[in-house]
Each structure stands twice: as C-alpha cells, then as structure tokens.
Symmetry: C2
Subunit: 244 residues, 2 copies
DNA sequence: CGTCATATTGACTTTAGTCAATAGAAGTGG
DNA sequence: CCACTTCTATTGACTAAAGTCAATATGACG
C-alpha cells in the first residue's frame, strides 16, 4: 500500500465527475466523521445478511462484492477501486444481499448512516450524487450481465481486463500499459461464471494472440486497441473522465 | 388490459413497502404532472443513447430493458411489472445505457425530470424512496447475475419463473397458482443468456419433472415449493410485502 | 386461406466443465 | 536460510452442457 490517503478526497474527486460539487455539499462531505479500518487480503468487510449502520468508502486497496450459494459456489458481483462507495445502497436496502471481501490489504472509511441521512436532509443536492453513484453501479452491473450472457469466455476476459485497465488508470494504478492483477484466476472465474481451468486456458489464448502479456500477478496490454476491439469494449458505461 | 389505472397509485403502493410514505411526500408525488402514454407490444419506449427528460412509471402491461450488441444479439437486463419506476436512474445517469421495450400493450406515466428534482429539493425524504428504488433494482440485477453465473439453465428457468410468480402475485396478476407468460422463449433465452432451443428443452424438462405446467402463453405452478427448492429461490431479494 | 411469429424436434458441433496430476510461488516457523 | 505447507497456476484426458443448423409443427390473425 503506498501513501494511503486518510481523507475522503478520492470520493470528492469521484463525485466531481458527475457534476462539480457545490461548495456546501463538499464541506458537508468533508465534515463527515468517519472510522478508518484496515483489512488484510481475504478479510470479510461486511457479511451478507447484516444490517450495517455504516457505509464504507474504499480509500486504498481493492475489494469485491460476492454472493455465496448453498452448494459452495460464489458469484462476484462488483469490483471496487479507491474512491468507490462500496455499499452505499445499504443505506436504504437492508439486510445486505451480498458480502464484501478485501482482495488486497485494504483501507476503508466507514461513515455512519445517521450522519449520511443528516446531510441528505440538510443538503438535498447531496442526494443527486448518491443516486448517481447507485445508478453508475447499476450501469456497470448491467454491462457485466450483458457480457456474461452474450459473449464467449475469451471475449469476457478481454472485457474484464479492459474494464480493470480503465478503472485503475483513472485512479493512477496503471503504469504505462501495465497494472497489477489483483485477482486470482479462480476469482476471475467467479466473476465471469466460468471455471478456473477455463479461465486459465482463455487467458493463455489471449496471450497467444498477443492481446495481453502476463507477469506474476501483472498484466501488460501491448495493443489496447486490439483488446478493446475483441472485447467489444466501450468505456462510456464507466462514466470516467480522462485519467488525471 | 383490464381497468388500467390512470394515477400513480401503484407507485405509492410500492414506495409504501419501503416505509410508509409521510403525508407531504405522498402529496408531492400525487401532485406530479404526468403524461400518459400507451405502447403496443414490441414498441420501443426509450432508446439506448437517448438523454430522456422524463422518467416513466409502468401503470399497466409489461416491459423490459435490453442492450443490443453489434453482432445482433441482445441481453435482457430487467423486467418490469405495474408500479415499477422503469428508468428512474436516467434522472441522474445519461445517456441511457439500454433500451426499454414494451412486451405487451403497455401504459406508462412519464414524469418530467425537472418536476422530480423540484420535489427532491422540497422534500429531502423523497430521495430515500428514490435511492431505495434504485438499490432494489440493483439487488434484483445482482440476483440475476448470480443465477446466470452459477446455475444450470434448468435452474435458471426455474428461478425466473419463481421471480415472475412472486412479482406478478404482488400486483394481483396471478390467479390461483397460474399466470400469463408474457415472454417468448426467445426472450427468456435473452434473459438467461442461453439459446432459444435450449430454453425450449429446459422448459419441457421442468414440465416433465412436474415443476410447471404450460398452456398457451400461460404457466401453472402445481408445486411451488418444489420449484422454489430446485431454483434455490429466496424471495427476500425482491423486498415484497405479502400479496395484497 | 395464407402469412408470420412462435414453438418443437433431431442431428451434429462446439464450448466449457470435471477430475486429476503436476508445477511454481509465497509464506511460515524453526 | 531451509523444510514444509498452502495457495495458485498449468496441463491432459475425458464428459457434459449448451449451441447451431435445419426442418417441421402449431397457433394467432388478417
């Protein structure tokens, strides 16, 4: 973890992408009391079925949401990079319908729901940002669903790698055309709904075709355009501004 | 279409499920000016890429959201029954990332975004209901994604039929243990991400196993418990109160 | 009655899953 | 630093699930 921020600045920056924050809303957010909490890779940040009294902003690290089935399999539902409000929806929808897991050493800021509701009452405009955040989450989920349902596993992996590249680039976690692959192949399989073995084979196929290169836990994109092309990837759904 | 309501009463009833609406919020909603619009089966209600200035509440009929891929395939992303806010998210997230299609003769009420924003400013509590609606939409989408990724097509179909049963029952569209199947097998395939042929075979397998019976465009559930069991269905994610 | 959409079925192909073994890498305690 | 354990990744052989293509049936409807 390098230079973890200990303020909600990454969230402010994200919200600014919707619409520059009005000064009073910005100040309200900056005045939220929050509780910093660290997690090791593999730690559970929140458990399905709980009724959280706080929502968390990811400040550093990497985490994902997942649902477990009784048979023991799991579906990964979302990935989060620093600046993301991980479980804002738990503010209004309880109990939590999925768990949240740290994939790396992770730092989050937890903000009490009562403080959030108080700010919403005082600054109605804040609700626009909250709704935007939830809507964006929905748009990304819909894109995942579309990719799962309509594309081959080869294309799915290409699409996932594209998404990671763009989202990580936005938060300065891409160096050149390479980034750390924080997911295991088993996790990738649980994102795409395919077996780990098949993930392995498809990744090697992408590598064979020159669309990616792999180091240990690292992905290089020698030809982003070609990867975007085969993935049918259009970054618009991420609603990202240009990288910093 | 029987006795289509021409007020936003179905939406009020849905919002009441989150938390009984405070009188002033209820009145605000009732005072929204809206534009009634009818669609025939197959009509496009909104097109991907548009920047709508209104959001629609489904009053009668049935519609779904879909994304088209360049290759010509499509993924169906959500189904809507009367009372649903179909595209509330377009209030804050433009352009629209999917199209909306009427699956049956359909009646919607369209409410201008400026009116919605005005109410949000005047009644901050309204935002809780909007956020709840969006969060619920997300929860259903996550359940779909989990089913797509982790279950066999046989189980997926069982799950979809369970969801339809519970959601339609809530809005009084189930008679006894049967309901009209408004989806074609091709549409079901585009929901689950499987081919139409395979939908047909899996439906017949469900029938053979006594989990469903089929008439023309009609589904009977002779043994709901068994269907729920094989689907691994838990209605909690729909956040429905008891049927009326 | 003819047309169109939808549903059904068979034959065959392709994709992806399963099982099992091995290899490599990372972390731990001594 | 080494022996050991534990993840993680890789590969082969085989199986199962689902897709594709094509033909036919069925039903709704003008």
């Amino acid at each position: 973890m390098n230079v973890p921020l200990r303020t909600l600045a990454p969230l402010l920056r994200k919200f600014d992408e919707y619409r520059p924050l009005p000064a009073e809303v910005r100040h309200a957010i900056q005045s939220w009391p929050f509780r910093l909490q660290e997690y090791a890779a593999g730690d559970l940040i929140a458990r399905e079925g709980e009724e959280p009294k706080e929502s968390a902003v990811l400040l550093d690290g990497f985490c994902f949401r997942q649902k477990l089935l009784v048979e023991g399999s799991r579906q990964i539902l979302a990935l989060h990079v620093p600046g993301d409000f991980i479980d804002l929806h738990s503010l209004v929808l309880k109990p939590l319908d999925h768990s949240i897991l740290a994939a790396r050493p992770t730092l989050v800021a937890k903000i009490g729901h009562s403080d959030l509701f108080q700010s919403l009452d005082a600054y109605p405009q804040l609700s626009h940002y909250f709704m935007w955040d939830m809507a964006l989450d929905g748009a990304i989920t819909r894109q995942w669903m579309t990719t799962m349902g309509q594309r081959s596993s080869y294309e799915q992996l290409a699409h996932l790698i594209c998404e990671l590249f763009f989202r990580l680039r936005r938060v300065r976690l891409v160096k050149g055309n390479a980034f750390d692959m924080v997911l295991t192949q088993a996790e990738i399989g649980d994102i795409c709904g395919i077996s780990m073995v098949h993930v392995n084979r498809s990744l090697r196929a992408l590598e064979r075709d020159g669309l990616i290169e792999r180091g240990r836990r690292r992905i290089v994109l020698p030809d982003l355009d070609a990867l975007v092309q085969t993935a049918g990837f259009d970054p618009a759904y991420l609603h990202l501004l240009a990288p910093d």
